[in-house]
Amino acid sequence: MAQTYPRALPGPVIPAGPVRGLLEAIRYALAIPEPVTAGDARGRLEECDVRAAEVVLAVTLALAPDATAEGVEREAHGLEESDDRREFLRTWQAAADGAR
């Protein structure tokens, strides 16, 4: 049966800590800005694929039975510090900023 979605509080419940850090790193990794051209779109898709693979690895390690807080932190840092090829993609936001 389909779930119903009441819009109710209490809001975010994830406390600060390694897991929250990992979730924020995943969001950063996957939130790739919208592209400008078809070429940028292809680059974005490739980047998305690479990022997804990195996230899957990090989440798998975090879910392992022997995962430690230090290990989860390390994975989060790894996601944040891995090569960021998004800098080479022109995004709608950058194009709009440039036009102003």
Binding site: L30, V55, V56, L63
Partner: protein, 171 residues
Amino acid sequence: MTGQDKTVAQASVDDTLSIREALEAIREAIDIPHAATVGDDKIRAEIMEHRVMHTVTFLRGILDSDRPAPDVPWATGYLRDRLAEHPATGYVTWAAAVAERQAAERAAAEHAAAVCGMCSASGATEALDRSVWTALSDGTRTVRWLCADRPACTGRRFPELAAVLGEEAGQ
């Protein structure tokens, strides 16, 4: 039970479970099989884009204070429902293509090793329906394969006949 009713220990256990569920949902969202061909990869990319978008929205809901989701289990359920709308199907996966190729190679190997039901030579290449074989012989043997080169096969099976036919052809 509301958040205020939980004991500290119970809340901790529940929260750990719900965060674990959230991480598993994220992994399910983006761990989709690789495509076999360039054409399949285009379909996969579209699916992946939708699933990543919903994952990012989910993460905003549970992390941002300005866009609060009611709670992590609710948001996880919502994400899973959105993922169900964009299932990772409709393209040939790399694993499926490899399995198909391996099956074809196994069939080819079996084929190459097949023994002709007529002359007993190995490497018979034509499958022969049992009913056809029954019409050709006494029907007591089960034959699956037959040589493609029928005159050579007949020559091996009936050398005397082949010699006679050869003499006739020579005359």
